[in-house]
């Protein structure tokens, strides 16, 4: 088969055969090498976090990929196809222009201050006059996870990417990744007891917070998220957790230790 091996002849049949299969193997090897090279390049250029998010986003259940406009009524049932990044979305301005028919009241007992902007992964951003911004866990996120046993914050100077990992929290052996609401550089960590965890300098961009929710839209989303949480918990042996008119406990894990938190917590924090 190969030159130098008994039985090989420099005849057209042998040459064509060898060339065809040599070409196939070469293309296969080049394909694998290109994929490896591009992977290395993605890490070097800092696009890895964005790629991981897009890959994760594809595997999120449909109910977790709903467009923000599905909550306030301008696009019921619409599924986002941009990884929750409305900054480059062409449909977002059109849907924003539609008058919301059903501004939803905020779920009783949840605290979502007006001046903050909210990310779909249950973090908030509070822009400061000096151009920096505080980042913290929103009220529903804090109630779902409760008091973490361990929090791994990124070091000062680290770069965050929207929807990439901002920090990790662990409790009872299970860990969740909290997604970053903004692109930017970490400047400082919040002291214990503060409601913010990171102070960041957002990356220069024409609309750095366009993808974040605020006002009535954030309220509608928080209510939908509460409904989703109740449905997730209703599959647990503990049964339905919230009667009409009740308020969520401050530490749901402690209140419902038998619930499948290994499933519920990742679902609420958009982890796959």
């Amino acid at each position: 088969m190969f030159p130098g091996v008994d039985g090989f002849h420099w005849s057209p049949v042998h040459i064509v055969f060898l060339t065809a299969f040599g070409a196939v193997l070469t293309v296969l090897l080049i394909t694998l090498a290109m994929a490896a090279l591009r992977t290395w390049r993605d890490f070097r250029n800092g696009c890895a976090a964005s790629i991981v998010w897009h890959s994760d986003f594809e595997d999120l259940p449909r109910s977790e990929r709903l467009c923000r406009h599905a909550f306030e009524g301008s696009a019921p049932g619409r599924v986002c196809d941009r990884g929750f990044d409305c900054r480059a979305c062409e449909t977002h301005p059109k849907l924003t222009a539609i008058e919301t028919r059903h501004p939803a009241p905020l779920t009783a007992g949840l605290h979502y201050p007006e001046g903050r902007l909210y990310h779909r992964g249950h973090t908030w951003v509070e822009p400061q006059p000096d151009g920096t911004a505080f980042i913290g866990l929103d009220d529903l996120g804090a109630r779902v996870f409760g008091a973490p046993e361990r929090v791994e914050l990124p070091a000062a100077g680290s770069l965050l990417a929207v929807n990439g990992p901002a920090w990790r929290m662990a409790r009872n052996g299970s860990e969740v990744i909290v997604r970053s609401p903004v692109d930017g550089e970490v400047l400082a960590h919040g002291a214990p007891g503060c409601d913010w965890l990171l102070l960041v300098k957002p990356a220069v961009s024409s609309a750095p917070f366009r993808h974040l929710l605020s006002g009535a839209e954030a309220g509608a989303w928080a209510r939908a998220e509460t409904d989703r949480l109740l449905l997730l918990l209703s599959a647990s042996p503990a049964g339905a957790a919230l009667a009409d008119g009740g308020a969520l406990m401050p530490d749901l894990r402690q209140a419902m230790p038998d619930a499948p938190w290994d499933e519920v917590a990742p679902a609420m924090f958009l982890n796959v």
């Binding site: 088969m1 190969f2 091996v5 008994d6 039985g7 049949v13 042998h14 055969f17 299969f21 196939v24 193997l25 293309v27 296969l28 394909t31 694998l32 290109m34 994929a35 490896a36 591009r38 992977t39 993605d42 890490f43 890895a48 976090a49 790629i51 991981v52 897009h54 890959s55 994760d56 594809e58 595997d59 259940p61 449909r62 109910s63 977790e64 409904d227 989703r228 449905l231 997730l232 209703s234 599959a235 042996p237 499948p260 290994d262 499933e263 519920v264 990742p266 679902a267 982890n271 796959v272």
Partner: protein, 415 residues
């Protein structure tokens, strides 16, 4: 409506199960696998006997050299054709609906081909000399082309399936794997193209090797260039039955798992593709049969009824293959969208049975029929070792598919 994670109490492996996917408890899953592992063990034992003592354990001999193994090999390679054909339809003809089944199609292709290669290794024997076929090939044999193509295609299928594995809930925690998977996925059209190129030739050559048998008038066919008509019929039949087999397996998994895996429109699309290809194949097959019976065979000194005077291979087998397992399912599949989607399982099953019957006829009937005046009609019944080896391969397929269904997201539309 949120996706409720139905988590059985005794699900010890839940950390590996895709989030939001409902799967049974670990004990129930183990119970499901147990009989298959038993069958696999039996197959391994039978395979070991054959490799240790040779084909003495089988009921094949020098005249009946192809038996159950080759017949089923050809059938499952045709069924696995859905992998390459779906890849072509998705990546080149942009039929996006098929993205719902492409992962399962690739896995089925991988299992079919790896299973076929395993059985061939037992059939050929001398596994320590397996590399001889690559190092000292007979470049004038169609089987050489088949060997090279199948080996290369198996590598392609493995690479094509790699992205699905890398998306497993635990494996994906390593970011570099996920980024590599993303980049590899972008190059998937290249792999689909290579897969189509290799499949075209090995599916064709598997048919071609019967069509060139001048000494077997039952199989010998006219040629276009160097390729007999069976070369093209095998390619077409694999393209026709591949989507039907995907439809069938997806419905089967839905039935066993009690989950909805794909939208109904995907079944309709698969059925229509299969229906059109099957129609085209059956028409050409009919023309080929008429030419063979009325011209090719007569020139070889054989009259058509001589082939069908040996029971059980009566003329009924021809009508069943072309009519019941050919035209009927083709028409039925083409009515997809106008008939209940669930009923499409029946024509898909008939289509698969038709292609299996075609491979059976070409393998077993060809060898059973007498060719020379002093020949006798031969009969062949596979030994338990032959059946067990193939049972082992079937069990391997079920086990691997079950495990990967449980731990990876084979169907992105699953709900």
């Amino acid at each position: 409506m949120a996706d409720i994670p139905w988590v059985p109490a005794a699900m010890f492996d839940r950390k590996f199960v895709p989030r939001g996917a409902a799967r049974c408890g670990t004990a129930q899953f183990s119970l499901w696998l147990t009989p298959w592992f038993f069958l696999l063990g039996l197959g391994l034992w039978a395979g070991y006997l054959c490799l240790r003592d040779g084909l003495y354990h089988t009921n094949m001999d020098n005249r009946f050299a192809f038996g159950l193994w080759i017949f089923l090999d050809l059938a499952i390679i045709a069924f696995g054709g859905g992998a390459f054909f779906s890849g072509v339809l998705l990546y080149f003809l942009k039929l996006k609906e098929l993205s719902a089944v492409i992962r399962s199609a690739v896995l089925i292709g991988f299992l079919c081909y790896s299973g076929a290669v395993t059985v061939l290794m037992v059939d050929v024997g001398q596994p320590l000399r397996a590399w001889f076929t690559f190092w000292h090939p007979n470049t004038h044999s169609m089987l050489t082309e088949v060997t090279f193509c199948i080996t290369c295609y198996l590598v392609v299928l493995s690479i094509e399936y790699l992205p699905v594995l890398l998306r497993n809930r635990q494996i994906r925690k390593i970011p570099s794997f996920l980024v590599f998977e993303w980049e590899l996925h972008k190059l998937m059209p290249v792999l689909a193209g290579i897969g189509a190129f290799l499949s075209f030739f090995h599916q064709g050559s598997l048919g071609g090797l019967y069509g060139v048998l001048r000494g077997r008038p039952f199989a010998f066919r006219e040629s276009f260039g160097i390729w007999p008509t069976t070369f093209f019929l095998f390619i077409l039949s694999a393209m026709a039955v591949g989507p039907s087999f995907i439809l069938l397996t997806t419905r089967l998994v839905e039935w066993i798992s009690k989950r909805t895996l794909v939208l109904e429109s995907v079944y309709v699309k698969l059925a229509r593709i299969s229906g059109w290809m099957l129609t085209f194949y059956v028409l050409l097959k009919s023309v080929d049969t008429m030419v063979w019976l009325n011209s090719t065979s007569r020139r070889g000194g054989f009259l058509p009824w001589e082939y069908y005077s040996w029971e059980p291979f009566g003329v009924w087998i021809l009508f069943v293959e072309i009519g019941v397992f050919g035209f009927l399912p083709a028409v039925w599949l083409l009515r997809a969208g106008r008939v209940p989607t669930r009923s499409l399982v029946v024509p898909a099953l008939l289509a698969c049975a038709g292609i299996a019957l075609n491979r059976y006829v070409l393998t077993v009937q060809t060898l059973a029929l007498a060719t020379l005046p002093f020949d006798e009609f031969l009969s062949y019944t596979p030994s338990w070792q032959e059946v067990a080896v193939f049972g082992g391969v079937a069990a391997y397929g079920v086990i691997v598919y079950s495990i990967l269904y449980r731990y990876t997201k084979l169907f992105p539309q699953e709900r």
